[in-house]
Amino acid sequence: MNESIIRIKGAKKNFGTTQALKGVDLEIAKGEVILVIGPSGSGKSTLLRCVNRLEHLDSGEIWVEDDCVTSQHANIRKIREEVGMVFQSFNLFPHLTAAENIALSPTIVLKDGKAEVKERVRSLLARVGLSDKEYAYPEQLSGGQQQRVAIARALAMKPKIMLFDEPTSALDPEMIKEVLDVMLDLAKEGMTMMVVSHEMGFARAAADRVVFMDEGLIIEAAPPDELFAHPKEERTLRFLNHIL
């Protein structure tokens, strides 16, 4: 668990006059599960989106394994193949079936063989418990089902890291568990995960560390039990009182 797979150094990002990130340093070890919490506007989603460069940093560096994501010369598409992402609003492709959603990128980006991709789609759908939904279009699926297809779609690229941007925030309460169960399995299998979420149950069950962010800075980071029970910072305590 010593080898860092993600290294964030002095990450700064402005949106106009608002400073979203004011200098964030974070190292994530291979196989580590990190939960990022914090009030809205604290920069946690921005930080996540900078890791696969959906947003560009203004200054600072982000490394994924031996590749500098923030470099001009980075082969960003190659890096994105290794970094899967799951969005709050699922973002499934509405004109494609569940199976086609999962198969598209392996087929046109990795150029994997048809039979192999088909087999992978089958096993991924089984893994997220949706084997019977192969031919369903996104609008025929519930939110929880859509999010599970979205996770399968990201996993189809065989990523080494998975980013989750508030994966359960858009879901009805009764659907949250089915998504968290899939994520929990993933964590147990040793996937490196960076999760922006306030699901404390998931944090306790799966997270190695919880990172608390506020106003564009990391206030403190600690294993979940330690952070929830004995926060060192006043701000952390105030935030936890709000959500627990």
Binding site: N91, F93, L104, V109, E139, A154, M157
Partner: protein
């Protein structure tokens, strides 16, 4: 978003469509070619569309029966021009769609120079009347480019409608949520792959109705090519009129045929629009 695509028929030099909304968002002023299409609640036989369409059809049948001398002759003489009218319309719309896709992509391109070229194209073309463009390409450029009548006509109509199509493509692409592009990029796709495999297939559904309206507008505007010695519907009518001096009957039949075609196609576009909307509603 799709409200944005209910394009007011051109003659708007600014990129904003002639669709006005009040601050509450309820008032919509829509100036497309489909305004005669009855609403879903309007099933009356006396709807404006029924009166216009069946009235025109009836006149086309009754007039030759009542006085066959000019009218039947005209009906026999004029349809030759229909082939030319449809030929010019269909070939032009195909080229206009290609140009429109390029212009639309250019308008949203991140490369400044590409964006500038596309925007200048759209603004310049939309600022010049089609008739002037026809004259310009046929009379001014024709001798230099060695273009014959039909080629000039198709070139002018394609270039002109390509600009309007470009705005439809732009609005259509921009109506697709940003998350779709992000999801595609996050999966390792290039922008081009994301565009062809993810964005454009979704755009088609949104832009079909406005493109149908452009087709109808182009069908009508194709009558302008009669000045380039192309024997389209209008020109055939004129040829008949100038040899027999039966101006009123000749142009009446020409107008009625245009009206029937336009009403028929706008009904078709209307049905398509409703189907697409219902399809969307069913799945949401």
């Amino acid at each position: 978003m799709s409200d944005f695509l209910k394009f007011g028929r051109r003659k708007t030099p600014s990129p904003s469509p002639a669709t006005a909304s009040s601050s509450s968002g309820n008032t919509t002023i829509n100036v497309t070619d489909g305004t005669l299409i009855p609403g879903t609640g309007e099933r009356s036989i006396l709807s404006a569309w029924n009166i216009s369409f069946f009235g025109a059809m009836a006149l086309i049948v009754i007039l030759p029966l009542v006085s066959p001398k000019p009218y039947l002759d005209i009906l026999a003489f004029v349809p030759d021009g229909l082939a030319a009218t449809f030929g010019v319309t269909i070939v032009s719309i195909v080229f206009a769609l290609c140009l429109g896709l390029l212009a639309g992509l250019g308008r949203i391109a991140k490369t400044k120079s590409v964006n500038l070229i596309a925007t200048v194209y759209v603004e310049v073309i939309r600022g010049i009347p089609l008739l002037v463009q026809l004259f310009y390409i046929y009379y001014a450029l024709g001798p230099i480019l060695h273009l014959k009548g039909p080629a000039s006509a198709i070139l002018a109509m394609s270039v002109c409608y390509g600009a309007y199509m470009g705005e439809i493509f732009r609005a259509g692409i921009q109506s697709i949520s940003k998350g779709q592009m992000e999801a595609a990029l996050a999966l390792g796709m290039s922008r081009t792959q994301a565009l062809w495999r993810v964005i454009l297939p979704q755009t088609v559904k949104v832009i079909l109705p406005p493109i149908g309206n452009e087709f109808i507008a182009l069908l009508k505007d194709s009558s302008l090519v009669s000045i380039l010695a192309i024997s389209d519907l209008l020109r055939r009518g004129r040829e008949y009129a100038s040899t027999t001096f039966n101006y009123l009957p000749a142009y009446t039949i020409v107008a009625l045929i245009y009206l029937v075609m336009t009403l028929f196609f706008s009904r078709l576009v209307g049905i398509m629009e409703v189907r697409l909307r219902n399809h969307e509603r069913k799945h949401n």
